[in-house]
């Protein structure tokens, strides 16, 4: 713990995951701040209002130690508790709404801090405001979701099959998953728009991946996942050993580490057996992308999650294999855990920072791979030690996801911007370009021809974000990431002349259609363009594919619902079950 952080107790998984009958707790570091009762901090405002009971549960007033640190009221006593005392401690914790509030506050703040660390800057929510509301007991419903309209994460509770109340706010991965939706929405606001099957699935898949990988930073749960709660073998010199039988890819994939939302799933009476799914069981195959069953958003997201979780598994198993054995097929448990923690941490950084190089609209998984490879090459040019990029690209390929050929180089990275010599830099101010949307817009407008930006559309700079990142070898990367979008409204009758695409069969000529374009401009530390990742309005193939998808799925006619978007996706998932 540093002066910039403070420690708070959370559940490492959820109340159903126990070690020797006791809750698995962890004290985690969160950014240090002076909290108002709620807890309410500079980015998160917990309001414990229950709309079903129409009651506000009173918040806790935290005590502070003389050095300004919060006194964690839920920390396990330093003296060991016997089984009875521990059970009483756990029961008291679960029955205290203020612990629930602390739990959500700490996980949201941790997830936020993890994003900011990977991106090298502060991140914003998608709404105009600084504090995300969190309602840990929002209402009685077996659902939890991010609602942009309410500037909030809403966690429901429900009566499980044993008449016990199940709190979604007490699940580490559900809280991390919903927080990731909010953070992703802040980084790429248009990803909740109807576009194509990949974009629809990306939010869910990406949030699953972040939730699952985040758990690896809690060593207690990694150990429990590997050992299943059984005591490790101890050597004479104090080493803790684990049998290699528990360390195969299949064995780890079946552990709690890759199948989260345990309690939620178990208590749903078969309605939703796996809250966040066990996507890693979707073994590599190119068949999923072409299978109509995987065109649905949640199923599509599962493919995305499967690729990255399978990558995690391969990298970890491969690093375990490089560790020495102690006797017959026995490994040093602590080193095995260390390797898992390291791989997950590095992969999490790679996965999050890829967002900066993703196009602002109409994302597909292939774009994401190119973005991931490019930004990782920028931050960590030397990847020869563990070959992360090779493993990642190979795994994506095995699921049939291949970088867009025309837009990438031989390494799968976006092409570097080739026309810097023709760009007019001298009409804009370098300092202002680092933070000022107006200045960047002027730059874009002056250079629209060479940038290939269609001036028929309404163009808007959405964000200008300076970023400073450190690679694994201490290499520092300074960049400014600018995001702009373009919107054009037209009648279907104009599609052939304006966008050179055909009107989908059955679409009335008077049907109103909105086409989107946009791009990411990545400026280097000298203010010159490194990459222009663009989705052009006049991209015939993309616009045609998008329109056909929206038309055939009926999404073209749907209005944007910034409250219920994620609630509906989760609810829909609750009504279907995975195939046999």
């Amino acid at each position: 713990m540093s002066v910039n952080t403070q420690r708070l107790t959370i559940l490492a998984q959820d109340p159903s995951v126990r070690s020797k009958g006791a809750l698995v707790l962890a004290q985690v570091d969160v950014p240090s701040e002076s909290l108002a009762p709620g807890p309410m901090g500079y980015r998160v405002k917990v309001v414990d209002f229950d709309a079903t009971a129409n009651r506000l549960y009173s918040p806790r007033f935290y005590d502070y130690s003389p050095d300004g640190q919060i006194v964690d009221p839920y920390a396990l006593p330093t003296t060991p508790l016997n089984a009875t005392a521990r059970r009483a401690f756990d029961d008291k914790l679960l029955a205290d709404p203020n612990f629930h509030a602390q739990h959500v506050y700490a996980i949201v703040m941790r997830t936020l801090a993890r994003f900011e660390y990977a991106l090298g800057r502060r991140t914003s929510w998608s709404f105009s405001g600084h504090q995300l509301h969190v309602a840990p007991h929002a209402f009685c419903e077996a659902n939890a979701y991010y609602s942009e309209g309410d500037r909030a994460l809403l966690f429901g509770y429900f009566e499980g099959k044993r008449q016990k109340t199940i709190f979604t706010c007490l699940s580490h991965d559900i809280v991390a998953h919903e927080t990731t939706h909010a953070l992703l929405d802040g980084l790429r606001d248009r990803y909740t728009d109807p576009s194509g099957p990949d974009q629809a699935g990306f939010h869910e898949g990406f949030s699953d991946v972040v939730a699952l990988l985040s758990v690896f930073s809690l060593r207690s749960i990694v150990e429990l996942g590997l050992t299943g709660g059984k005591a490790p073998i101890k050597t004479l010199n104090g080493l803790r050993l684990i049998s290699g039988d528990h360390l195969s890819a299949d064995s780890i994939a079946d552990s709690i580490l890759f199948g989260l939302g345990k309690e939620f799933g178990q208590e749903m009476d078969g309605v939703r057996r796996n809250a966040l799914r066990r996507s890693v069981k979707l073994r590599p195959s190119v068949k999923y992308l072409k299978d109509p069953a995987y065109a649905e958003p949640h199923a599509r997201g599962e493919i995305f999650a499967a690729v990255l979780l399978w990558t995690m598994l391969q990298l970890w198993v491969s690093r375990i294999e490089q560790l020495g054995t102690f006797g017959r097929n026995r490994y040093n448990l602590d080193m095995v855990i260390d390797e898992g923690v390291k791989v997950a941490d590095q992969l999490l950084s790679i996965v999050i920072r890829a967002l900066d190089y993703c196009p602002p609209v109409d994302l597909d998984f292939a774009d994401y791979v190119a973005a991931l490879l490019t930004v990782d090459r920028e931050v960590a040019p030397d990847d020869t030690r563990f070959n992360y990029r090779d493993v990642i690209v190979d795994t994506f390929n095995r699921y049939g996801i291949v970088v867009p050929d025309a837009e990438t180089d031989e390494t799968g990275c976006w092409h570097a911007f080739p026309d810097n010599e023709q760009i007019v830099y001298n009409k804009t101010n370098f300092e202002s370009m680092l933070r000022d949307k107006e200045e960047v817009f002027r730059f874009i407008w002056e250079n629209r021809t060479i940038l290939g930006i269609d001036d028929r559309g309404y163009t808007e700079v959405i964000s200008v974000r300076p970023s400073t990142r450190f690679g694994p070898d201490g290499f520092m990367l300074r960049e400014t990431i600018c995001e702009y979008i373009q919107i054009v409204e037209l009648f279907a009758s104009e599609l052939p002349s304006a966008l050179h695409i055909e009107r989908p069969e059955g679409m009335s000529t008077r049907q109103r259609v909105t086409a989107y374009g946009g791009g990411i401009l990545v400026f280097d530390q000298y203010g010159r363009i490194k990459y222009h990742i663009v989705r052009r309005l006049a991209d015939t193939l993309r616009q045609s594919r998008r329109l056909e998808y929206l038309w055939t799925t009926g999404a073209l006619d749907q209005s944007r619902d910034n409250r219920n978007h994620f609630a509906a996706v989760h609810r829909e998932r609750a009504q279907i079950q995975e195939g046999a």
Binding site: E141, A567, A574
Partner: protein, 432 residues
């Protein structure tokens, strides 16, 4: 009287039932004899200036038109706006009593309505009885959910905004169990047929020269063949909703809420820092309840019969309120897609809602076209604007974009434009 085997004309009487469906389909034969099938008879809202006795008046008109004998009744699904007219009264003067007295030879309903499924093994052998039983229970559960939601709405008038409460009430009431109508339908016919995609219509001997194909609803087994994910046991989902509603009931007004002994304050005395979110949460909860009743509404719609009548060289399509999920199975089969291409009359699904006329099917209708198109498609719609959905969320019924397509590419007959002095709109189809 000898009936020639081939009808020469079909006449559709689309009755003014406001928000509901009631179509009397008459087949006229060369010797002027007639056969009649009544397809649905229900309402959940009559236009303002129409008398409450409208349903009785319609029933009497039907009795007159079929000269006291109704050949068949098809009740596409159990929603009130499709079957409320079949309800009887203890004095024997209900609209359902009048229809019952017409002694229909066959009453055709979807397989989900077979009341004997739970105890009797007379269901078609090709179907899995266990799934049918579960689905039947699911329908009962969802009607119980509707009852429970409406009871809470009545008890806690101030929980939701007036407009939200009205939307919940409208859909909820449509889904209430209408025991009288259900019982009447189950017993009024000489023969009761419960059908499914590819199943029997029971109309072959009743309507000479007319082939009736049942295109929907699919059985659960059929539905699951076209997707990776299987439907959850519907009863499980609705049982969960019932448990949720019972917790709602228990917590409301409970001073301790979820955490006995923990200090809390009630809704009206909240600190300033909590008020904005509390208001939003109350509203979000109301929307959840609305969403639940919408899901149950949709689930019920998807039990709709989809009937295709082929007579002479013409095809008449009556899909009830079938929505996309019901259509998906039928449209996944190429033979059906070909069959539907040259439909001559289309009864617009679900009163013109967003998801009841699949775009791919509409696009494939060969007879669509402008007023000069020879053999132009005829469409008939029973609807009442302003009752269901909202324009802001693009869910209004009838949907503006669909209405525009219906007007420009077909000869549209809609009951909402019917002069209030008229009881029905009449559509003639020459079958020769």
């Amino acid at each position: 009287m000898v009936t020639k085997n081939v009808p020469v004309e079909a006449v559709i009487f689309a009755y003014q039932v406001g928000f509901g469906d009631c179509f009397l389909l008459r087949f006229v034969y060369a010797d002027d004899s007639q056969k009649h099938i009544l397809i649905d008879f229900g309402t959940t809202g009559l236009p303002d200036n129409i008398a409450d006795s409208q349903m009785t008046t319609i029933a009497q008109d039907i009795a007159t038109k079929c000269a006291g004998t109704l050949d068949a009744v098809a009740a596409t699904h159990r929603h009130a706006d499709h079957i409320s007219g079949f309800a009887t009264k203890t004095n024997g003067k209900g609209s359902g009593d009048i229809i019952r007295a017409l002694k229909p030879k066959v009453v055709l309903q979807p397989w989900t309505e077979d009341l004997s499924l739970a105890t009797d093994a007379t269901a078609p052998k090709a179907l899995a009885h266990q799934s049918l039983h579960a689905h039947s229970l699911g329908l009962q559960s969802l009607q119980t959910v509707a009852e429970s939601v409406l009871a809470q709405l009545t008890k806690n008038r101030t929980s939701f905004s007036a407009s939200l409460a009205e939307s919940i009430r409208f859909i909820g009431e449509d889904n209430l169990a209408n025991k009288s109508a259900v019982k009447n339908l189950a017993t009024m016919g000489k023969k009761a047929i419960y059908s499914y995609h590819g199943g029997p219509s029971g109309l072959a001997g009743i309507l000479p020269g007319v082939t009736t194909l049942v295109l929907g609803p699919p059985t659960l087994k059929q539905s699951d063949t076209i997707r990776k994910q299987k439907s959850r046991d519907p009863d499980e989902f609705w049982q969960l909703q019932l448990r949720k509603l019972s917790v709602d009931e228990r917590l409301l007004g409970d001073r301790d809420g979820l955490f006995p002994g923990h200090p809390s304050s009630s809704g009206g005395k909240l600190p300033m820092s909590a008020r904005w979110l509390a208001g939003r949460l109350r509203d979000a909860r109301g929307q959840q309840v609305l969403e639940i009743v919408r899901i149950l509404d949709k689930q019920m719609n998807n039990t709709s019969l989809i009937l295709l009548f082929e007579a002479g060289n013409k095809k008449l399509l009556f899909p009830g309120d079938a929505q996309l999920e019901n259509w998906q199975y039928a449209l996944s089969i190429e033979k059906n897609r070909d069959l539907l291409k040259n439909v001559d009359l289309y009864k617009v699904g679900h009163h013109g809602s967003l998801n009841a006329t699949p775009k791919s099917m509409w696009a494939a209708f060969d007879h669509r076209g402008g007023v000069s198109k020879k053999g132009r498609l005829k469409t008939v719609m029973s609807t009442m604007p302003g009752k269901h959905g909202s324009e802001a969320s693009k869910t209004e019924v009838p949907r503006k974009t669909l209405l525009s397509a219906l007007k420009s590419e077909s000869e549209l007959h809609s009951t909402d434009t019917l002069n209030r002095s008229l009881l029905f709109e009449e559509v003639h189809i020459d079958l020769r």
